[in-house]
Amino acid sequence: MEKRKIGKEQYQWQSKEIEHFIETGILKKEQGKEILGSYEIEQKQSLFLRFVLSFGAILLGLGVLSFIASNWAEMSNVWKYVLLLSSLAITFGVAWRIEIEHPKTSRALHYLGILIYGASIFLIGQMFHFSGENYQAFLIWALGSLGVGYLLKDKWILLFVIGLLISYSIDFSVMTSTFPMPTLLLILPLVYINYEMKWSRLVTIATNLLALTLTYISVALLLEKTTHHSESFYWLFLAGFIFGLVLLLAPVPKHLELWIRLQANVILAVNGFVLTFEDVWGNEMAFIAFSLGYMLFVFILIKRGSLINILILSGLVLRFYVDISFDFMPKSLIFIVAGLVLLITGYFFEKKRRKGGGLHE
């Protein structure tokens, strides 16, 4: 049987514990020997040596980069191309090769590989004087990195990819007034990878943000093409509000519930808050109906034990209070009453929390 590698301190601690178990009769001497025999001390370099090697590697890396940067303009396109592709190949090659023996270094090299890939995209664009905007580069960067993220099931790479896709989607739709279809098509693979990762919290929240971005973009483009959008602005925030509602009510895995519901409440609060302004609706009846309906909805959520909605309710109360009172009340009185509202909110928040209310519900 292969021995399990552990640190020197852990081995010594394990040895002392087994000795104690033998003395107290919990384990027999042969059993203790067998247990201890299944471990071996991992041979680690000294801390000093590791520091020297790491520092040396960093200096070497900086030296190489500095040499390349100062000679880049003089290099021919052929050499630039060879340098970029070989750097990428070496980085990924070494990362793959050392993955089992040095997992952390391998992971760092994968991150470096993704950065080199991104730099290569822009540098090749520069070499051939590509026209156009950066959004295409962000999409290519995201597509090339997604595979690595899937392979390693790495949440940081996936977060980076989602960030690139959000940037691409916004830039693309602003520049071309067209919906970013590639992003929509990539949502399903992202969800699948997240499922294989057993639903990472951060990746789920980021994917929801991406979906929300696409929702805003599609509504904005529809408004641009169909109506006088200055009169129909509310559709944008209504879509965001409905998105938040779906997120609040959708069934989710238990370990994600806190974060997804929190995200849902934040989205509802932001969009709902904007929709409580008459200018957004352009119609007095609509804004009053929504504002009353939203406050009622918040009350219901508070009744169900949601703490965060106490904060949201106090925000709404303050917002309407300031709106109504600003013109005719003395400013000092406004602040006093506002302060009292916040203190009362804090009291109810603490009371609810002690009763066992959930932050997210």
């Binding site: 090749i124 664009g125 290519i140 090339g144 392979l151």
Partner: protein, 190 residues
Amino acid sequence: MNKPKQIKRWIVYSIPFLFLAGMSVKPIATVVSGEIITLHTQPIDPRDLFRGDHVLLDLEIETVPYQKLSKAIQERLPDSEPESSKISDEEQSWEKFEVYSILKEKENGIYEVEAVKLTKPETGIFLKGELEPWTALEKEKVVTIQYDIDRYFVPENTGKELEKQSNAGKALVKAKVKDGYAVVQEVVPE
């Protein structure tokens, strides 16, 4: 590592290379086997955070007189502004569309637009571009066509200098062209 896992690795690591290669095939083919042309331009120096110092190229061939457009193109141009902003057949005529500018060398060695067509020419030197129909209403009897060569990357902090040198006159763009696609080789003051 078992074979299917190894194959998966190779595929994943190849994807970035495929994208980089895909980006480069056309430009490399153009640089290797394209024809060299010279164009007039007025360079402007902005800054790109990701791609570095560059000059924008305001090419002379971007502004094309009406009479050089083919009849089919002239018929697609709008006569007046649309009345509403709702989607309609009118608005269709306001969207950019693909055209091909056939270039001819003048006596001074500079290339200019001889004719603009909707269909790709079989032979000769030409550039693929996008005609902006609304520009037909902005200026008298000319339209604007945007080509893929609109910028030239320069060594750091030299863009302003190139712009200054060209302000007195124009600059010359040397580009390689193949099959309607161009790659800028050099931008120098005239």
